[in-house]
Subunit: 429 residues, 4 copies
């Protein structure tokens, strides 16, 4: 196989470059952390930064090196267990909720693990031009998957650090606010109409996508209207003021029960009371900015707000119909300024990509004809298709180049620690 | 309004007759119970029989009499709270998991409550011929809703009694097996093919349906094949023997976690070990009958079995496409013999109605354009549209006349105390 | 053995008469109940009245008839499991927290079980005059134990019914207040001084006592002073008003944590707020009577009140020193009026017996030299000697003839559903 | 006040020297740790090493400097909350179970906090010779308390590190076994008899003791016999082999329930099965040494073993009678070899001090006449006097100079992460 040209679209050089870029970006993300910040796990859903560093490396170790490297020898036999997230095909794994107890191996050892595996992946990829093309493609597509996997963890690194810092009364700061968030007049809410009809939903083509984005299939969408921007902190404050958290009629039954049980009365990271709300951010605690999109809300809160507003959440198909064919542009993870920004554009359909993941009203279920891969990688997405809801569009913590219109993220209805917001939709009259 | 003819299809006489029939049927269902059997609540999901008797009456009391009866006076002010299930619009309600503590009012008092409300509903309906037609129609449709509501509770009465009796080491018998279950050769599994295309899904027309069955809407279904009968106890035993409950790769992640946590290793009510399984039924404990449909499985178990068998569960739309236009016939609640029966037919697509509710792979979500009713009755279905899965077709505990092809039942993926089974589906090649 | 005269103090006639009396008293206690009231279990610590009726009979069945009756045949083999409370030597037992699910056997069957066993015990005892004296004595002491066991359950019957009724919004009434509670001037609090010295603590002599009351042993008690009556509702209201439930410095650490976790802000069965407190009683809900002893408090609350008042709880030895040699007199279970009464006496040391069990500061532990009986009856008391506290003196629900100065009752520090109150003590200066 | 001579026994020089010694010892204990090991909290009962370092410093900061230092200024206002353990008088405190989330302040900052406070305490103490004697004494006794407080945390540092390391599959080693544990013939079990009589129990005199060790009081002890050494791993293995963990009749009721619920079938840190038991130690995992004392057992297990062996646990008074007047000598925390050692002495009453804390049958309750100090330090011991059991004698993790015959340690009956063992006692015949 030639380096420059690969069948199926994966060139050795493009993959090698992406690999370098993604690995370096992970290091950049953790660069503001102090050593201790790498170690703690603030809740079972989160993982320590050190674990993210190790696990993303483990992924290349197990699914690339162990599978394809000639004469493969493992770096450390214990790592197979310690840094396995959930792949039962790979064997035993360390208890998820006790990841914060792995003070050994040390951060230095994990960094060394990263370097060794990285170098060996580089060497392997570098020599693929001497492999039969089909074999080389198999390796390349695994490496590519590994980079996308690592990009998913880049976002989790940031949301997990944010959650950890939020539990500390001294409000640690990941990176100071550099004042580059734009200001101006908030885009007024308008609705864009989409006509009813048959659409092709899901990923098609050679470019990378996760298995859960396909197969592409025909879907009938009734006409609908979609709000042109995300719901803001200011709008959500009105819901709070109107006793939205105290009125069961606005909520799904399970949502209100969750709300009561967990004592919710505002989005996660909001502090204080209406009129003087403050917000914990990756730049520390500060005043709530009314024009910024509301984030860190559960699907239950998004749904209740929509009912209160006399609207509803869009389905994932509606969202995809609206986003399909548009340029993937927006406020993504590019600097250490990881916080959603206000919509100041005057045009239609702003913020579809970036800023906040958008809750939909769709359950995360397989598309018609979906079949997971065989072996351990079949566990990547398929086994989580129960009792979770789909989010679309990426957030301010999503790396550029990782998101697309067909991308399906998923969390439980009550989850709040992601940069999750929402936009409204409505039926046409 | 004339008694014989009503606009919109609801004649006074038909409704009056249905009301009499349903109320009498409830009494017939509880007739084998001893007084103490009416009182106990075996888990928070279940309710005591006495509570079911009272709550179905409360429904007519609050939504028919209080709303429409001239000069309405309540039978007992406490009942409004004690027998409210989940209608927050109606006000306070007794704690669901403590329904078994309501030793007062006594069963006699509840029966008296039934009779009083019943008589007042009768009188009200009887005089509707002197009401303006539109007003009369409103009353009639509420009474009709009340009868369907009561039919839902008839099924719950039976499944709740079964659960209660199953917790008693002396294996109480609701009604002895009368030996009328048919025997013969089990229908072999074949698959019926359905072509891809646009379908109208959901209820249409004047006949009664719950709000969650509409609006009728266009849905694109890809071609698929559907098994002609339910999976049997014998087939499910093979799954158990093949260590199905011990193999995480066969399960949804949440399903396997549930399985481990609750110690499942067979369907609910199965006792003993493979080769000598016994089963608790409403006729007491007896040998597991291999040709009978497997019942009392969760959606997680149904999904795992399907994966083990190399197939999948149907979506609710696929099921409806298959069932649509067929005669609603099958083994329903007609006698005290409440247990699913084997498929001995040789033809295609047996057991679509009756025997066991069929788990689908569809989450219980609103159809496009769905809007709940205003007021308390808007809470009937809509607020439960989160993290539940759809079941179709009714069971051996479903009253005849209550089920239709568009009927959407819903339970959580882990629920097992209903007569829940499943049939397999597969993609076409 | 002669009927009139028995070695060791147990005459056949006295035992037979006690047996008749106790069994009849149990029937008298449950006489105000409606059939459904017999069935429900309002929390795991409580048991349904039907279960109490059956279990007290089971005790005679297993420990008297099965042990001594010639040609013993069991009434029903299932009862051995269903009505065993906690005797692991006897074999399997029904799950404690699911006693409310035993709708079968019916109350009628349980009553029949009572009558059959009762008659067979009568017959057995009646013929003991023809047995060798030592053997007859063994039977008699078991029957005697059975009557004391049943008297313990008489008190539990009442406290369990009270708890059950308290969970019902319609406030069922066990027996109407007959207005016989005395009124007058509350005894002012004074303290009686006891000098330091060696005392004999624990039961001695031939009369009946539980094994945990012995062996009698020497104990050195430092000088102390003991309040002459129980703390009252009025006094406890002052503690509530003074924010006693909100001030951690008044509480044991575990006590305050319990208080926060369970949301306590007043004794069990108090309703409303200071100034308008109402109280649920076995005669329904009524105004809180300030002169009545406070009851249904945990040891944690008693201890916090004592600290707030600058005093302390007495040890069980101090209490016994004070009570020893006094006449066992007070307000006991004699009628259906089961509620503590105010101290209106002017003299010293009132209410030592009856009204409310008195929390002490002593852990429930074995006395020096304690050895449980061999076999199942060794489980009667000994295995509960961990993490419980001693209460002394009996209550308004304790049958006369059941209590003595050496009697050691025991509950967990957080338990509140017994008629538990307290009196203060203090060191001498 | 002169430096050399102080009223009441506290000389400035002695206290200053003790302060230096204890602070240095803490640093020595943590010297084998890697940076990440300082951060993690493996269960709510444990604390991160960094937190121990900070909290022991906080104690001097709040109770010495803030109370007595002229012109006191706090090092960091946040520390008052972050490093408060349980003193409600001092104000708010960080959630106990989330101590592992305090990645900030960093270890370096905590070390700096230690140095600053240390230096300021040194300066304060150094100048006390110019203070009025009574004032100086108050300061000195607080500093002395602070050193004893820190010694308690030295032991916890070690048991918490052991627990943390035990949760890591790679079995981290705190310090390699240096092979200095003595070998030889195990002391055979004999019993020493103590006659009945009045004893003075509790601390007396000028030397330091915690408030819960007094007041000294008269206590009558019946004659008893005490085993001359601790129960060994080998003896405990016999209990395991004899199905001790499966036999409810050997256990307190709450003990067996705990055992079932937590799945205990051997002491904490034992791995494998009888015949091949291995043990996790601070030197990593190794074969179980049969002659070493059994450690890391709960009081429930100790009690069950004693019942199985036909003996019992001693009371705390019996233990004190036996230990009183003996030289405080044994295997304490002197090196990094923190593991109990076998009794190879031939004489009577070995291992009373050191090796393992010894569970007694006594509940942790106040001695007659006990009064906690006023203010925050009154919370030191008194508020934990509920539902805990007394342990005596210190362990291999207890610093020399910290333990005495009257010392009362206390843990809950189910706690196992301390170096807790036991010796047997019995009544005399």
């Amino acid at each position: 196989m030639q380096k420059e040209r690969a069948e199926g679209g994966l060139t050795i050089e493009a993959i090698a470059e992406r690999f370098e870029h993604v690995r370096a970006e992970t290091e950049r993300i953790v660069s503001p952390l102090q050593p201790a910040d790498f170690e703690a796990q603030s809740m079972p859903d989160c993982s320590p930064a050190k674990w993210h560093l190790a696990h993303t490396t483990w992924f290349f170790d197990v699914f690339v090196l162990a599978a394809f490297e000639p004469g493969y020898v493992e770096v450390d036999p214990a790592f197979k267990v310690l840094f396995n997230s959930y792949y039962t095909h790979v064997g035993e794994r360390h208890l998820r909720r006790e990841r914060g107890l792995l003070t050994r191996p040390s951060l230095d050892e994990v960094q060394r693990y990263r370097q060794i595996v990285e170098q060996r992946v580089r060497t392997l990829v570098d020599r693929l031009d001497q492999w039969p093309a089909a074999d080389a493609q198999r390796v390349l597509s695994r490496v590519l998957l590994g980079t996308h996997h690592e990009q998913q963890h880049q976002e989790l690194l940031l949301t997990d650090i944010k959650h950890l810092f939020s539990r500390n009364a001294i409000n640690p700061c990941y990176a100071p606010d550099d004042g580059t968030s734009p200001t101006g007049t908030l885009t007024p809410v308008t609705y864009t109409r989409f006509d009813s009809g048959l659409h092709q939903i899901g990923h098609a083509g050679q470019a990378f996508a996760f298995d859960n984005e396909g197969p592409r299939h025909t879907y009938h969408v009734a006409s609908f209207e979609l709000a042109n921007r995300l719901v803001t902190n200011g709008e959500f404050t009105e819901f709070v003021r109107d006793r939205g958290y105290q009125r069961p009629e606005l909520w799904l039954d399970e949502g209100f029960a969750t709300c009561q049980q967990l004592g919710w009365n505002a989005p996660l990271y909001w502090r204080g009371a209406p009129g003087e709300f403050r917000q914990f951010t990756l730049s520390g605690e500060r005043e709530l900015a009314p024009h910024e999109p509301v984030s860190h809300v559960s699907q239950f809160e998004a749904d209740a707000f929509a009912r209160w507003a006399g609207q509803r959440l869009p389905t994932e198909q509606e969202w995809e119909v609206a986003a399909s064919g548009r340029k993937v542009d927006g406020h993504f993870l590019r600097s250490h300024q990881v916080h959603p920004r206000p919509s100041l554009a005057s045009g239609a359909l702003d913020q579809l990509f970036g800023d906040c993941w958008e809750w939909t009203s769709s359950a995360y279920l397989p598309y018609p004809g979906y079949r997971p891969a065989t072996g351990a990688l079949g566990e990547y997405n398929g086994k989580f298709m129960s009792n979770q809801m789909v989010l679309r569009g990426g957030s301010c913590a999503t790396p550029l180049g990782h998101i697309r219109a067909t991308y399906r993220n998923f969390f439980r209805s009550a989850d709040r620690w992601q940069f999750s917001g929402f936009r409204l939709a409505r039926d046409t009259r």
